[in-house]
Structure formats: C-alpha cells, structure tokens
C-alpha cells in the first residue's frame, strides 16, 4: 500500500513544474518509488504522468508514458 500518494495541484507544491505547463499530477515520495516502483509506474501508465518528490517537496523524477497514440510527426 502506498501511503503517501496524494493528488495535488502542482502549483501548490512544485512551481517549477506548473511553470512548465503541468497543472496536475500524482505525487509520490522517493520511498514510494523505491519500495513500490510497479505501482508508481502503473499509475503513470494509466494517467500519463507521475511525479516523485524528495523530502523537501521538490520534484526528483517525472515519469511520462503516453496514454493514447500520438500523431507521427514529419520532418
């Protein structure tokens, strides 16, 4: 069981991310990710993104996985 999983506004917790256009994401602790990587990755795969934060509340790892097929781009 991941006890520290929360759904928070990025603007409340991580202004660095909100400034990059990320307005919402699941927040996990480093311990969450270390002890339950499958659950954190499953969450990212289901929602498109998960953020792992350090004890200071700052983001350490951002995991992104497309939840739909994105269009192929042309060069």
């Amino acid at each position: 069981m991941i006890s520290t999983t929360k759904r928070l506004s990025m603007e409340q917790t991580n202004p660095e991310l909100s400034s990059a256009g990320r307005d919402d994401a699941a927040i996990f602790s480093e311990a969450d990710y270390s002890e339950h990587p499958d659950k954190v990755i499953a969450y990212a795969a289901a929602t498109g993104r998960a953020v792992v934060v350090g004890a200071d509340g700052k983001p350490r790892v951002i995991i992104t996985i497309p939840i739909v097929d994105l269009p192929t781009l042309e060069y």
Binding site: P37, I41, A44, V61, I62, I63, I65, L70, L73
Partner: protein, 221 residues
C-alpha cells in the same frame, strides 16, 4: 504531455531527428516508451536497477533523461557511478570515430540475466548526429526477446544472452516492419554522409567521448 525536458526529448524522437523510424513510432505509441526525467541529480545505480526492472515487467522501453548533466566530465562521473554496481559495466570500442572519439559501451544486466546494450544520447559534438540529442539520456529495452522478426529480413540476428532495442515489441506486421528498417537505414546513412561517418561504428557504443575525458574511465580494452 507538458512542456518540460521530458516532453522535449519525446518530441525530438517523434520528429524523426534520430533517423530511426522505430524511435519515431514507438515514442508516440500509447504505453510503449516511458521517459524518466531526473530533474536535478542522477540517481544511484541501485535505484535505476529497481525501476528498470519494474519497467521491464510493464513492457516499457525506458529512457532516463538527465538535463542537469551537461558536460562530458559529468557523463564520465555518471558512468563511473554506474560501473561500481555489479549490474553495470563499461567497454571500450576497438575503433575510434572519424573525429578520434573513444567509443564507450555501457551494458546493463536485466532481471532475467541477459546483457542489455544501453543506447546513449548527448548534446556533444563527439556524438554521432543521430544521437546528438537535446539532453544526456540513457535508453534501454529492459525486457527479453519480444520482437518476432528479430533476425529476419534486414534485422541483425540475435546474439545469445544479449538484448537491445532490436528486441523491443513494436506491434508491426512484417511488411511495415521491414519498410521501417529500410527507411531507417536510408535516413541514417543520409544523416551521416556530411561529414562522412559510418553508423556501424556506433552499434554497440553508448557514448562517444574525447580521449581526454575517456581517460577518466576504468575501461576494459
């Protein structure tokens, strides 16, 4: 997908700037490629082992992106840390790049005991153009043999106990698969024509470093 370095890296792949038609396809395919953006410092090797294993169980190609690693010296530091873990090893290529760069192969032992050849990306002039990316990154297929067409047509045959991106699942039929191989070969050859270079040099090379920086690594010759 947001606008940070993770999205930038994925966009770079999807735009086909590597010349690889498979990277272009898979980077935008639902549930296929996980990008792990390490915001400030690179994690310990044991952390990468743990999460790479988890991505293997989920069937994801994984790309660890390190925007804070911006020099060759910092790449050497990263490789030195990884090499200290028993699941990671470094190898020096026998040849050098046309510019005299040292070819460094990074290998990782998967959860099932195979050796996975890690692909590196970096924004350094020493890197071959198809892997001269906006950020330093390590990319790997952490799973087993999942490409039904490995060893057929244009695809090099598998080597016992070794996996790479050539073993990643792609979901294509044979004709589409073979077509992407040919398109990739043509595009990469074109990208590496001026100045003349040879993609075959880099098949097992993760990074290409200047001799001065490579001297800081403990390498098997």
């Amino acid at each position: 997908m947001g606008g940070g370095p993770d999205a930038h890296f994925r966009l770079w792949l999807r735009a086909g700037l590597t010349g690889c038609e498979f990277a272009r396809l898979l980077a935008g395919k639902h549930g296929s490629v996980a990008v792990e953006l390490h915001v400030d410092v690179a994690p310990p090797a044991a952390w990468l082992n743990n999460v790479f294993d988890a991505h293997a169980r989920a069937g994801h190609v994984v790309i660890a992106v390190f925007p804070s690693i911006a020099t060759e010296a910092a790449v050497v530091d990263l490789l030195t840390v990884l090499q200290a873990n028993p699941r990671w090893s470094l190898r020096r290529g026998l040849k050098t790049s046309p510019l005299g760069g040292v070819l460094i192969g990074l290998e990782w032992i998967t959860g099932s005991g195979d050796t996975s050849e890690v692909m590196g990306f970096a924004p350094f002039p020493t890197m071959p153009v198809p892997r001269r990316s906006p950020y330093v990154a390590l990319a790997t297929w952490p799973g087993g043999r999942s490409n039904p067409f490995r060893g057929t047509g244009s695809t090099p045959p598998a080597r016992p106990g070794v996996v790479s991106f050539l073993d990643a699942p792609h979901g294509l039929g044979y004709d589409a698969y073979e077509g992407r191989w040919k398109a990739t070969s043509e595009r990469v050859t074109e990208l590496m024509s001026i100045p003349p270079d040879d993609a075959r040099l880099y098949r097992r090379a993760t990074f290409v470093l200047t001799p001065e920086q490579a001297a800081g690594l403990a390498l098997d010759h």
